[in-house]
């Protein structure tokens, strides 16, 4: 109860790049339903046990309506892109949300992802060649992690290769609210919106094989499709949802595997472990960001504690992923762990729509790195890796490597 009384500040400060804060184990053990204070000063309830996080994320009474008048504000400045147009134009719950997910989700099937593999592999090989040409040590985040997901999403949206770097810039400005001035952010948002409007008009005139053309082909809302503005925002949302998350994960995955080089060697010896190794790094990602906030519409019980209506709950998937009651030897990295039902993509109706894409990208990156740069190693001691807090996910500032 001691943690409970002193009211923990959340996010919990952590100076190490790859290790979890000690508080997680303590909270799971003695205070699974903890009061925390958010950066805004508002109070919320933090969940850290696997069973609780899983239950809450799958329970529709815990809504994403964090704009309710009595919901806790996450930060003093407001929530950025997730509180803006994107949130209001794409339905966030109920049947309408399900409808949107099914329309967009057809593009994210495992089969589509398998079909995208060869072009993803080519992109990864090209980026790695460029990084090698620039000489060592190189920054794997800037050279590979950051551009790859943008290039992949551009391909999916039918955006020509020549415009990829503009997309990178827009995505970065929309997400890194602290690095750019308000004027830069607004200008980027305006340009991005204009680009997407023109791009959509071009696709309407001359449809291609891309996701936007297919959404257009379904027709408008009266035909069971989406309105133009919804298609446009969906395109923008996919870039925003899929860029920073995946870019950071590529850097963290490679760092975790190189932090103890016997892991890398095990993968070199047996590349069939790539799939389970990717899942294990997702599970053990200790720097995955804020977690998922939910707003409670009616009184409910979690782990024997009554939560009143109006409570804002924060689910720490990263803490839940290390729960000993859900994973054997939970603190250990087991590259062949199976099954691995980690919660890094959320769970239930809202769980990450892009997870098959993200998984495929991570697998491809790892496969190409092992093949092309088997001698890869961190160019700095692990202790010198520096974390950055992104808006949606945490990451590493740079990932210096040699090969």
């Amino acid at each position: 109860m001691s943690l409970n009384e002193q009211v923990l500040s959340y996010p919990i400060p952590n100076d190490t790049a790859l290790e979890p804060p000690a508080e997680w184990a303590e909270l799971r053990g003695t205070c699974p339903v903890a009061h925390v204070k958010l950066p805004s000063g508002d109070q919320a309830t933090l969940l850290t046990r696997y069973a609780d996080v899983k239950q809450v994320l799958a329970d529709p009474r815990f809504t994403r309506q964090l704009n309710a008048p009595d919901a806790a504000r996450l930060s003093a400045e407001g929530g950025g892109v997730f509180n803006s147009e994107i949130a209001t134009i794409i339905p966030d719950g109920g049947e309408e949300h399900q409808h949107w997910r099914r329309l967009v989700g057809r593009w994210f099937t495992a089969k589509r992802m398998a079909a995208l593999r060869p072009s993803m592999t080519a992109i990864a090989e090209q980026l790695i060649d460029d990084m090698v040409k620039r000489g060592q040590p190189g920054d794997l985040k800037a050279g590979l992690g950051f551009p790859l997901p943008v290039y992949v999403i551009c391909d999916m949206l039918g955006v020509p290769a020549a415009d990829r770097d503009r997309f990178s810039y827009w995505s970065d400005t929309l997400l890194n609210l602290t690095r750019y001035t308000q004027a830069e952010i607004e200008a980027a948002q305006g340009e991005f919106f204009q680009y997407m409007s023109d791009h959509l008009a071009a696709k309407r005139a001359e449809p291609g094989e891309d996701l936007l053309s297919e959404l257009i082909a379904v027709g408008g809302p009266e035909d069971g499709g989406l309105a133009d503005i919804q298609i446009l925002v969906t395109g923008m949302a996919l870039l925003v949802a899929g860029h920073e998350t995946t870019a950071n994960m590529i850097g963290k995955m490679v760092s975790m595997l190189l932090a103890d080089r016997s892991r890398w060697e095990r993968l070199l010896a047996d590349p069939s472990l790539i799939r389970t190794a990717v899942e294990e790094t997702l599970r053990l990602d200790a720097n995955s960001g804020f977690g998922l906030p939910r707003y409670l519409r009616e009184e409910t019980e979690v782990s024997g504690t009554v939560l009143p209506r109006g409570t804002t709950v924060v689910c720490s998937m990263a803490a839940a992923n290390r729960d000993e009651s859900a994973f054997e030897a939970a603190a250990e990295m087991d590259l062949s762990r199976s099954p691995n039902p980690h919660l890094s993509f959320g769970t239930g109706a809202h769980s990450c729509l892009g997870q098959a894409l993200a998984r495929t990208e991570l697998q491809v990156v790892l496969e190409v790195l092992l093949r092309r740069l088997p001698a890869l190693e961190l160019a700095v001691p692990v202790e010198e890796l520096e974390r950055v807090e992104g808006l949606a996910v945490g990451g590493l500032r740079t990932v210096p490597v040699r090969w």
Binding site: R106, T109, K111, N340, G348, A349, S351, A356
Partner: protein
């Protein structure tokens, strides 16, 4: 082993197809799961159990009786 899937619960995440493509597929038009093999062979059992365990929507049910 007998497998059943709940199409209403499925959120189309495709985890099952990534893990056990011989047993699961997804509908082209909305990504919802298709059960290809309700009684998969022994070589698939480990993969099917893994798919059921990690399905984010808990949409896959496995019963172990023969």
């Amino acid at each position: 082993m007998k497998v059943t899937v709940d199409e209403d619960k499925c959120c189309g995440a495709g985890q099952c197809v990534l893990i056990a493509p011989e047993v699961f597929d997804q509908r082209e038009d909305d990504g919802v799961v298709i059960l290809l093999e309700p009684e998969p062979g022994a070589d698939q059992h480990v993969l099917v159990r893994e798919a059921a365990a990690v399905c984010p929507a808990a949409a896959i049910e496995v019963s172990e009786e023969a």
